[in-house]
Symmetry: C2
Subunit: 110 residues, 2 copies
C-alpha cells in the first residue's frame, strides 16, 4: 500500500494513555503516536536509530540525560542504543517517530 489515512487506521495501545498507528517498511517503521497528559515512556534503549517530531502539543524528552521540552514543529534524533525517555505534560499531544531498521515488535496488520 502506498497511501494511508492515518486517522482511519486502528490503533495499538502500547501503554496507558498512548495510541500508536504504524506504517511498516523494509528499511524503516513510521509511527504516529497520540499521547495523553501524564502518559510516560520510561528509560529504555534499542539498536534502532530513531528520529521524531511533535505534530501537535509538546512532550518532555530526555535523550542521553539531556532533558528538554520539544514543541510542535521541533525534532529530535536518538542514536542507536542511546538511553531515552519521554512524557506528555500539559495537553494531549501527537508525535511522529521513525525507526531504522524496522521495529519488528511494532508490526501491525493493515
Amino acid at each position: 500500500m502506498s497511501y494511508y489515512v492515518v486517522k482511519k487506521m486502528g490503533p495499538k495501545i502500547p501503554a496507558e494513555g498512548i495510541e500508536m498507528r504504524v506504517i511498516s517498511g523494509e528499511k524503516m517503521t513510521m509511527v504516529f503516536f497520540h499521547v495523553e497528559p501524564g502518559a510516560e515512556i520510561p528509560e529504555h534503549s534499542h539498536p534502532h536509530e530513531q528520529m521524531g517530531t511533535v505534530l501537535k502539543g509538546s512532550i518532555e524528552l530526555t535523550i542521553d540525560k539531556d532533558k528538554r521540552i520539544v514543541n510542535q514543529g521541533d525534532a529530535y534524533h536518538v542514536r542507536s542504543n542511546v538511553v531515552h525517555s519521554g512524557r506528555c505534560l500539559g495537553s494531549a499531544s501527537e508525535v511522529l517517530e521513525v525507526f531504522s531498521p524496522p521495529r519488528e515488535d511494532y508490526l501491525q496488520e493493515a
Copy 2:
C-alpha cells in the same frame, strides 16, 4: 546533536518554491519541506525507501502511476526504486519525509 528547532535551521532550496531542512542520521535522513503553490517535483526514483506525511496543507502525489491528494495528517510510502512525483496545489504546504538509507545528496551542515 539530539534536538532541533526546525524553523531556526537554514533551508536549502532544491527547486523553485521548495525549501528543505535536513536532519542527517546514520541509517536515515529526515527532511522538512516547505512547498509553495505550483511547486513541482517531476517523476523520479531512487534506491532509498521513502515515507512521508503532510504537516500542513495538502499535496498531489503520484506513486507508481497512482495519483492522490494527500491531506494534512495523511501518510505515504514509496518503496525502493518506485517512480513518483508530486506537486503543491492550492496553498503553501509543509511536508515531512524520511529516507533510508540516508540521502547522501542531502547532507547539510548544521
